[in-house]
């Protein structure tokens, strides 16, 4: 009996050891480093209390990055949920050639960040980008190129995020739609509800769990976004697309300010934690037993 109780713990202990060694320990060390001051390039640390937090919270670059991240996050999360729902509803009707559509929709999702970023850069290239050259014929398109303007560059990144994030959003929501009994929808229709009414009053409330998961994952992904920004715009022009993740990377790995990098990482962790708690509270009815 004792052996059978211990067995699960024995079986998970290698994974647990790896997680402790490579996730928890570095994380705790990171928290510690956020309270230390590093003399540049020397590797020497000394206790600094809240100095790093104070310095970064007083730094214009941090607030600019936060503002950029907020703009990116709000646009991305809102649109990916709305479009994700739209696509999921379409796919739920099982259109003809659904397999082909699903394959095409999923291509951007399976690409790596770097490959997707390179494709995006080429598409919006001033001289040869097919999207850039095509859209330049429209009056609303900036004459000198979308990606060279601050707002334009950020929208290019939102579009890239959507291009890659939409497949997963659709898949998650489609899975939720497929668990909803058709009889419920039919019953609503029999009672006189229109399609829109049935969607908002029946379908949507039953999708709260999936919506919460998508909201959480999309928000955390938006806060942590860095690789695509590094590959497409490098945070430019100027610092107009330098999101928090990129600011962290630049500070920690390019400027070699490990202390400040750790502090930014802790701040991002706290932002993600706060978002998670807010969402869980807002959707708490899903979790009541």
């Amino acid at each position: 009996m004792r052996q059978s109780r211990a067995l699960p713990y024995i079986l998970i202990s290698p994974s647990l050891a790896l997680i402790l060694a490579f996730v928890f320990y570095p994380t705790l060390y990171g928290f510690q480093l956020s309270f230390m001051r590093m003399i540049p390039l020397t590797g020497e640390f000394e206790f600094a209390g809240l100095e790093n937090y104070s310095a970064l919270l007083g730094a214009r670059e941090l607030w600019e990055s936060a503002r950029v991240t907020l703009f990116f996050g709000v646009q991305y999360v809102a649109v990916v949920i709305i479009l994700g729902f739209a696509l999921a509803l379409i796919m739920n009707r099982k259109p003809r050639a659904m397999g082909l559509y699903m394959t095409l929709i999923f291509v951007p999702w399976v690409l790596s960040d770097v490959v997707a970023s390179i494709i995006w850069r080429i598409l919006f290239n001033q001289q040869i980008g097919i999207i850039e050259l095509t859209m330049r014929n429209f009056p609303f398109w900036p004459k000198l190129g979308l990606i060279t303007t601050p707002q334009g560059a950020l929208w290019v990144m939102v579009l890239l995020g959507l291009w890659r994030g939409l497949p997963f959003a659709m898949l998650l929501l489609l899975a939720g739609l497929q668990t909803i009994s058709r009889e419920l929808i039919e019953a609503a229709r029999i009672d006189g509800a229109s399609s829109w009414r049935a969607f908002f009053s029946v379908t949507l409330p039953l999708m709260r769990s999936q919506a919460l998961v998508l909201l959480l994952l999309a928000s955390i992904g938006a806060v942590n976004a860095a690789a695509t920004f590094l590959a497409v715009t490098q945070g430019g022009p100027g610092r107009y697309t330098e999101v928090l993740g990129l600011f962290l990377y630049r500070t920690g790995f390019q400027f070699f300010r490990i202390d400040h990098g750790s502090t930014i990482a802790v701040m991002m962790f706290l932002i993600n934690l706060s978002l998670t708690l807010v969402y869980l509270r807002a959707f708490r009815s899903e979790y009541r037993l």
Partner: protein, 457 residues
């Protein structure tokens, strides 16, 4: 989990950093102006091969940029041909090559603190000051003293200045080629070399149509734009980016303002440059020039190989490409023109187990013969004036290259945190050039104060 993973990555790097080296004294001022290069000495004979300290086999570690098995000709020449030739000369020394990604200097900072260093490594010449500050490299003075005098005298000033620490005057490495910059132009469109900023504007306007033909294109993307493009325009006015003593930013000055405004006006007022050039990457601007869409472009001497052999072959074969000193505000480039001189360097990390083997490699790589072969393929220029006597450098353009090396090449201003400094000012410059009505002085001042506020209380 994403944040934790990101934090784990940062911290895994931090975990490698043990504490407490000795504090470093403040840096001595860098020289204000280049001294003329020493007169070319007689061709340097290969220094007498000093046998390794012990005859027992030595397996030494060498760090190189990129994949050691890269099949490209330049990598093959360095990693295979030269290594084999060296090992034939020194049969008891075997090099184990380890490939490092581009941030080789960062890896060196980290592993030096961990004590896990190779015996010889490449590093970025312009990061020399940071390496000296961090104490990552072995001073080579004891080694060089044992060599013939010519071994040190037969070096260009820019080579020595780049590989010498301004903190203690010691030499810490040898460049393995010199890179200088200048103004490339289309001779068929602009027969005479532009000498002044007004000339750039005049010729630029004559060759720009605002859509697909441009007068001047520059590499504007931060942070390296500060080295290649903006720095020369500042230095030619005797301007500064740092104070040259502590690494304090002083870039909110008239010379930097003039340089930034000039580039902003190229785009917005004179319309000789496309707006995309403000964020153009290293290869983007040069490619535009080589494919015939641009009349002038500041680029390195290393652009020659690409011009001759690939993208610019048609123009080169037609004799349409020329290289000159970067024009100056006063119109006297022979006297005032400056350009960013640098290169990759070889150094021996502090604590290397087989430092003598590393030194033999440095000597081997810096001989006249090796320099000629390497420079012709890699596209850099030899570090020794004597190597220029070789027939391979008879092309007239090489005389212009040598002029750029001797007359105007200089290293970057002194920075304690090199990348952060040029990244900060680079971002400010990008922002200042994006629109025609930006307050350049305020942008420069804000970024200067933000940088200094981090390091100087």
């Amino acid at each position: 989990m994403g944040v934790l993973g990101l934090g784990a990555g940062v911290l895994a790097v931090a975990c490698a950093a043990p504490p407490t080296p000795t504090p470093v004294p403040p840096p001595k001022p860098a020289p204000a102006a280049p001294t003329p290069a020493p007169k070319a000495a007689a061709p340097t004979a290969a220094p007498a091969a000093k046998p390794p300290a012990a005859k027992e086999p030595v397996k030494a570690r060498m760090w190189v940029q990129g994949d050691p098995k890269d099949p490209g000709p330049v990598a093959q020449l360095r990693n295979v041909t030269f290594v084999n030739e060296f090992q034939q000369k020194f049969p008891n020394i075997k090099f184990e090559l380890e490939g490092v990604s581009e941030r080789i200097d960062l890896k060196l900072f980290v592993t030096a603190k961990a004590g896990d260093v190779p015996d010889i490594t490449m590093y970025s010449g312009q990061m020399q000051q940071n390496h000296a500050f961090a104490g990552t490299l072995t001073a080579l003075d004891d080694y060089t003293k044992a060599e013939p005098k010519q071994f040190i005298e037969d070096l260009f000033w820019i080579e020595t200045e780049t590989t010498k620490s301004t903190l203690d005057g010691k030499k810490y490495g040898f460049l393995y080629s010199v890179h200088a910059r200048g103004m490339w132009r289309r001779k068929d469109l602009i027969p005479d070399a532009p000498k002044s900023w007004d000339d750039i504007i005049k010729h630029g306007k004559a060759n720009a149509n605002g859509t697909d033909k441009w007068g001047f294109v520059f590499f504007g993307q931060k942070p390296w734009s500060i080295e290649v493009e903006y720095g020369p325009f500042v230095w030619s006015q005797d301007g500064k980016l740092s104070d040259g003593k502590e690494g304090r930013a002083v870039w909110a000055n008239d010379e930097v303002y003039n340089a930034v405004k000039l580039h902003r006006d190229f785009v917005h007022e004179h319309k000789i440059s496309p707006i995309s050039t403000i964020t153009a990457g290293f290869g983007d601007a040069w490619k535009l020039f080589l494919t015939g869409q641009v009349a002038m472009c500041v680029q390195g001497t290393y652009g020659l190989n690409q011009a001759k052999n690939t993208d610019g072959k048609a123009l080169w074969d037609a004799g349409k490409l020329e290289f000159d000193l970067i024009p100056t505000k006063d119109g006297n480039p022979e006297k005032s023109s400056r350009n960013f001189g640098n290169g990759w360097a070889w150094g021996i990390p502090k604590g290397a187990k087989y430092a003598d083997a590393g030194w033999e490699w440095i000597k081997f790589f810096s001989t006249r013969e090796t320099q000629v072969r390497w420079s012709l393929l890699e596209g850099g220029l030899p570090i020794r004036p004597s190597a220029w006597d070789d027939k391979a450098f008879e092309l007239p353009i090489y005389k212009k290259f040598r002029q750029a090396v001797e007359k105007g090449a200089r290293p970057m201003d002194l920075w304690r945190t090199y990348i952060e400094a040029i990244e900060t000012v680079g971002a400010a410059v990008e922002e200042a050039t994006l629109k025609p009505d930006t307050d350049i002085k305020k942008i420069l001042k804000d970024s200067q104060d933000a940088f200094n506020g981090k390091y100087f209380k």
